[in-house]
């Protein structure tokens, strides 16, 4: 018998009697009066920054001037101008030189600062991890209270890859001292539009 069949057979023989799944009642989970304020506070506590904007015009200008200066920036947001869409063919070595990536976030979570990104927002799965600095743009109205609400909004398996990303890369592996910028992005700024 194959390993697979043996394992499955043993599980069938040894599993306990069927018990039911619990019903998850969202009425019992935390509510926030001000989702935007809650989101900002949490994100700042985990090392990220927030900027509130009415619209994208100032960010668009910033991006253009950085490009003009010759900074290696990658834009994935159509509303900010020309989108880099040939990223899939770039190697890790090439992407490692990206200074700042601009990516659209789909849903942001007030309780923990996380933002859901679909693979299609990234252009290349490596981009939000390997870039030195990360800028994510979200709509104010896309902030939800908790992870339960977030999973209702997204379809996590819609694309080949997706991530909840909360703050810049970090580690505390050396004597529990928090250091921002472990392997991934050294900074995260979230622009909240609307």
């Amino acid at each position: 018998m194959s390993s697979r069949d043996t394992i499955l057979k043993n599980i069938t023989a040894n599993k306990p009697e069927l018990v039911e799944l619990p019903a998850i009642d969202l009425n019992t989970v935390i509510q926030y009066n001000d989702l935007v304020q809650q989101y900002k506070t949490v994100l700042q506590s985990i090392g990220g920054g927030t900027v509130e904007l009415q619209d994208l015009s100032s960010l668009k200008q910033e991006l253009e001037s950085r490009k003009a200066k010759g900074d290696f920036v990658v834009n994935r947001i159509a509303a900010l101008g020309e989108v880099s869409d040939s990223l899939a063919s770039l190697t890790a070595d090439e992407l490692a030189a990206v200074d700042t990536a601009y990516i659209q976030g789909n849903v942001a979570v007030a309780e923990n600062g996380a933002i859901w990104l679909y693979e299609s927002n990234m252009g290349n799965r490596l981009l939000p991890f390997i870039c030195q600095h990360l800028v994510i743009v979200i709509e104010r109205k896309s902030i939800v209270p908790t992870m339960h609400h977030a999973y209702q909004q997204i379809e996590s398996a819609k694309e080949g890859f997706g991530v909840f990303l909360a703050g810049p890369s970090k580690t505390a592996d050396i004597e529990q001292s928090l250091v921002i910028g472990a392997h991934g992005a050294r900074s995260l700024i979230v622009y909240m539009i609307g």
């Binding site: 390993s3 009697e17 996590s156 694309e159 592996d173």
Partner: protein, 458 residues
């Protein structure tokens, strides 16, 4: 002979506590992590409800595990992922070795996976002349030092920054005596970025596997699992079969609990959901049994398979904090390791269920409500009945004896307030401690304790 084996933890622990300042530091550092966990837990009014949901979801999953594994396999295959099944560690290692050979792979990066530690993957590959680079910072540090991780979430928690500085000076040529964590982390970042970029194979663990979607979720703070998996042309994800959960929506419950329980963070920086290989990439999943189906059949111990490896039970354990992870001589240390390891090898790990005061603090913090201390107690009965220990009484007291028989370990009178709760967390939250029934607890100075209690009961 059986007697000797029950002494192993105690002996290793005795060595650990020889360095008293370091032991105190270790103890305090982990207690600090436990306090961060408390703060995060108290921030959510529904915390107990979440634990209950998590526990029930896991109970349900275990009761229907064969069907969920089949559903997962079917969906993962449809997503273009190759699914392998491994009976034990040797099987797991061979499957990975075959993939390496078939693709003629030289460069391998690995993110944290306690399963690959359990299976001895690095050592196995080493005997085949293949080196893997561990990419979690803590794991890289201990790998350089030829040590195993001492904690499942904080692999290098037993080391001071001077130790890391010396290690990096030797291996990465950093400045001698520069102990700045920022500087040392930056050196590791540069070193490991090179490794990610040139890697051909990335091996990762799995935190949760979702039957409904065939996908799996990997959680890190550093981003190392993603750097490896998205750069390499082959990704192998290794999982014990108990990582299964039924639906994607259940991830919300577990992701809310995991990081809060582990480090007090609201969530890990990256919770990555893998479903399909990227264009041109190969993705494999190795589903491992290695004794788990046997544990599933032990009614008293099966719910240890609910564990999500948050390590909250380590951080709160008065024995773990003062004996260090290496004294448990197994990949998964701490209270939960002391339940899982006797199942894998009763003789070799008969000492572990005795490395506990049975205080119950572990069960109180466990996000999936495993009755850890009850199971430790039950393992003692089994091990005695099976003849792996001499007499119940003698060893029954071992865990407590370790902590209390050495005066310097509870020289806490001057440090009340904090000390009582740290050394005896069960005084406030556990009335069913068998040890407590047999003996008088050393009485803490009444006034201080009451002060503490009054302050904390609200």
């Amino acid at each position: 002979m059986s007697h000797t084996s029950t002494l192993k933890h105690a002996e290793a622990a005795a060595q650990f506590i020889n360095d008293e300042p370091r032991t105190n530091w270790h103890d305090e550092t982990l207690w600090f992590v436990r306090q961060k966990r408390d703060k995060a837990a108290h921030g959510l009014p529904e915390w107990e409800q979440l634990r209950e949901w998590a526990s029930q979801i896991k109970n349900h999953t275990l009761s229907n595990l064969d069907n969920y594994l089949l559903e997962f396999e079917r969906n993962a295959k449809a997503n273009g992922v190759t699914v392998h099944w491994a009976m034990d560690g040797a099987d797991h290692n061979r499957i990975i070795y075959d993939i390496i050979q078939k693709n003629n792979i030289q460069k391998i990066v690995k993110s944290k996976s306690m399963l690959t530690e359990e299976c001895g993957l690095n050592e196995f590959l080493h005997t085949k002349g293949i080196e893997t680079v561990d990419t979690d910072l803590g794991e890289r540090i201990v790998q350089f030092r030829n040590e195993p991780p001492s904690h499942i979430v904080l692999p290098a928690i037993h080391l001071k920054k001077q130790d890391v500085s010396d290690t990096f000076h030797e291996h990465l040529n950093t400045e001698k005596g520069n102990n700045d964590p920022q500087y040392l982390t930056e050196a590791a970042r540069q070193h490991l970025r090179e490794k990610f970029i040139e890697s051909e194979l990335a091996i990762t663990g799995v935190n949760f596997a979702v039957a409904e979607t065939g996908g799996f979720v990997v959680c890190t703070n550093e981003g190392n699992a993603d750097m490896g998996a998205h750069a390499a042309k082959i990704h192998i994800a290794c999982m014990g079969f108990e990582k299964m959960i039924p639906k994607a929506e259940h991830l919300s419950v577990f992701l809310r609990l995991l990081a809060r329980s582990a480090t007090g963070q609201p969530i890990t920086t990256y919770s990555s959901h893998f479903h399909k290989p990227r264009e041109g990439q190969e993705m494999h999943i190795v589903i491992v049994d290695n004794g788990r189906s046997r544990q599933l059949g032990r009614a008293d111990f099966r719910n240890s398979l609910k564990c999500i490896r948050c390590a909250a039970c380590f951080n709160t354990c008065p024995v773990y904090r003062r004996s260090g992870g290496h004294s448990y001589h197994t990949a998964v240390a701490g209270p939960i390791g002391s339940i899982l390891n006797p199942n894998i090898d009763m003789r070799a790990n008969a000492d572990l269920p005795f490395a506990s005061t049975l205080c119950g603090s572990c069960s109180n913090v466990c996000p999936v409500k495993i009755d850890i201390h009850d199971q430790l107690w039950k393992w003692r009965q089994v091990l005695v009945a099976e003849g792996y220990v001499d007499t119940t009484k003698k060893v029954g007291l071992k865990g407590m004896a370790f902590l209390l028989a050495r005066p310097r370990l509870y020289r806490f009178a001057g440090k009340m307030g904090r000390g009582v709760m740290r050394l005896f967390p069960w005084l406030v939250n556990n009335k069913l401690n068998p040890w407590y029934k047999q003996r008088e607890m050393p009485a803490p100075p009444k006034q201080s304790f009451r002060d503490w209690y009054l302050q904390n009961k609200k």
